[in-house]
Amino acid sequence: MSAFAEKIVRFRWLSIVGFVALAVFFGAQIPRSEIESDMKAMLPEDIESRIKTDKIDELFGGTEMLMVIVKTEDVLSPEALTRTENISKQMKRIKGVDKVLSLFELKNIKGEEGAMIVEPAVRHIPKTEKQKEELRKEIRENDIVYGSVVSEDFTLTAVIALLKADVSDIFIVDEIRRLIEENPGKEEIVIGGLPFTRVQVTKSIRLDLRRLLPLGLFVMLVFLFICFKQLRGVVLPFVVVIMSILFAMGLIPLFGWKIHVISVLVPVMLIAIANDYGIHLIAKYQELNSEGNSFSEKELAMDIFSHLTKPVVLTGLTTVAGMLCLLGHIIIPSRQIGILASCGILFALTASLLFIPAVVSLLPKAKPIIHSRNSRKPVLERMLRLFGRIVTSKPKEIIAFATISALGVSIGILFVVVDTDPNKYYPKDHPIPYAARLINEKLGGAQNISVVFQGDIKDPRIMKKIDNMEHELQEMPEVGNTTSIARVVRQMSRALNDREEEGYDRIPDTRNAVAQYFELYSMSGDPDDFEKMVDFPYEHALLTARLNTASTKKMDHVIDRLKQRTKNDQDVLLVGGFGSILSELAHKVVNGQFLSLGLAIFAVGILLMILFRSVTAGLISAIPLALSIVTLFGLMGIFLIELNVATAMLSSIMIGVGVDYTIHFLWRFRVERQDGLDPEEAAKKTLTTTGRGIVFNALSVIIGFVVLFTSNFMPVRFFGFLVIVSISSCLIGALILIPALCIVLKPKFLEPKQINV
């Protein structure tokens, strides 16, 4: 090892230039990266729900829409209607808008004195109170618009733009904003729809990166300065962190990836974790460079390298192992984060071991730090000493207490909810969830699930099947508005037959009659009125249910029911839609959670077994991890924090980082036992020496993740909160539970005799 340490000093320039060049090269790639704001892109392309939804787009054209919602006391007031009409009319002229759905564009099909009348739902703006109430009555009877583009209480009306497939989000959102500016009024205007959400998300990601990074770095600088009170102690770990962030983020465009909502976690994680190794080296440097020492710069550099290589590499490897277990997720950004964070940590690890000693050997020796007795340290020391006393006097009670409290908190696990609703990215009062709430509660629902039927659609057998399924869907409380070709046929049947006639409000019994209904409609309606419901040759039909919830559980209920109903049905091609993508995402989150968790525990356990050459070591270190996991999920349930794409990554990260404290404790404990201390004394000594390092290490991680509270995204904020909770519980586990376990169990791998063998 010392030969290698010498080489590090001899080739120091090569090492310094090499690392800086690498960081500059990768950093230069960062501006090339693109932002991905589409939820769909979180799932691989060959995932069932994505394939099916793409098939729907292929058969029936894109289903993207933007909504302008006009909110006022009564939308039938002349001012509100005039404004709505102007917005509707001008929206049609925006390039990229395929079709507009509004009170002025959607039809009213009605039968009147032997005539079938097809006209816009609102033909004239009512001038008198009487006309207004007549219009209200007419709209109530028109189920094409009632409850979908006008709310049942007439406080909302929507103007919906169905978009062409190739239109860019930013362009269309800007156009819609301009449209609203050009039509001012006293009514409240709310914009909704996925393209709007995506534009907002992209913007928020940019803001997040711009805010979290500098803030995180600043917090870290302050922390480093408090720890080391020396310029090199601040600058060197800081430079390593910066370089590892540049390296990891530069990999994104090089791998051909895009930045996702949760990718902002990568630099934050690196700020929190990548400085750990540098901190250890600087601490050791300051320890060796005590008053009156006679080491040369080169000797100091070589010494810190040789002393710390093993523990730093080991803790680094467990962290990387935990991160890599994110590959157990099928969700693309989670896997990417796993790889990026691992690469960043590996970079930080090598840079800490090679770059920091290289620089240290070049710098003139620093003045030794005289430990001034500031008020904080005795507190920590007193606390650690207290831990030592409690642990040694009541180890069994501690184990019992930890077990009972973990079991108590674990009740919360029962309440953990999985949710992938993109509206929950934002706080409740943000425009995006606000619009979603309006749409869900009053305008038929924002998410959709679709069933594609195949065969001869004009065949009354299939038409009736669509009709029955639509009715069944409407009975479900989660379902808002539904659309299908069967519904249009029924509408026509109401216009064509009088109430007392047999054919009123039903699908006709012969194929010819169905065909003739369509022929009739084609005389008075637009040919593309049905475009989203049936394809050109009448071989595929689309039944779409809009859901008034994006809660995964409720959506699953509808999807499961539909899948069960359509299983083995030759007439049904598939069940798909954006709702089904969200639902599958949720399932993958849960599965990925368990898989990556299992993998992480397994990998970390194996590493510890190798490190201590003992199976028991792996098992003992798994105990605090298991309790942390139970606490984590329990608290999630208690605080109603949902398991989503961000929070699902917690556990494997936590295991990789949290096990470090256990490793540090066990390592030192074994050394003290070898030196002849009994378990109680060894525990006390370890707690007051290495314990301090462990606390600082955990604090640096916690402080690093605190900045996540300022993120624009709720899942990222929750992630920050939960990291802090779980790192704290790992810390407490390592400082209290592990010592207690060591004292009570007296595991053989820590006993002096075993080690001497």
């Binding site: 079938m116 006209e119 012969t510 065909a515 003739q516 084609s522 008075s524 040759p537």
Partner: protein
Amino acid sequence: MKIHIIFGLILGILVLFLTAESQEDLTAKQIVDRSFKTTKLAGSEMLSTMTIIDDEGRERVREIASVTKLYDNGETEKRLIRFLSPADVKGTGLLTFDYEKKDDDMWLFMPALRKTRRIVSTERAKNFMGSEFTYADMTPPILDDFTYELLGEEEIEGTPCWKIAMIPVDDDVADENGFSKRITFIAKQDFVIRRAVYYDLDGDLHKELTVEEVKEVDPENHKYRPMHMLMVNKQNGRKSVLNVDEIQFNPDVKDEFFTTRYLERY
């Protein structure tokens, strides 16, 4: 016999002379007006095929038989259409009274239901029978709703034409007709439109109409009909072809054809 020929010749020359004379003074608006009148037949019997083609080339074919007759000094055209194929709509009939000065009356008879319904639709921009043709394409517009500009002269497939721009006077008219501008190529020889280019409400190219095989159906009154009309939607790639397979000028079409009673007699 000879006298007839000579008389015919003199008449023909006279007509030619007169039309040639008058053409020089025609305004764009007058040309458009004439172009609509030139296809108005006192009465006709016709077999035709409407083919609707989507952007992937899939076709829907409708064979229809129709009779028309002018009433009220040409101000009202009554028309009966009967579907011959496909089988599922065979016998479906559409009776239209096309008034010059008010909304049209329409009735549809559906044999499978043995039912006739009046259809009320006020929008001329509406597509006809699910095709790319609109009602506005099939029936003459209100002349004063547009301004006209003679842009020049151009040959279309060897036929000299006037090139005329037709622009709606206001947004309401534009909305109603579904275009912000239409460039029409009207043949000098027979006043029949040879080509028309439609611009949508954004001013973008929308549809293009091509007319082929213009036939003089009523030689006595110099009335013409195109045998082949193709409308291509440049925005969505859909096409519609209206092909006249057989046409017979017949001013004496029986009046009883144009009744709902006859519509239902199938």
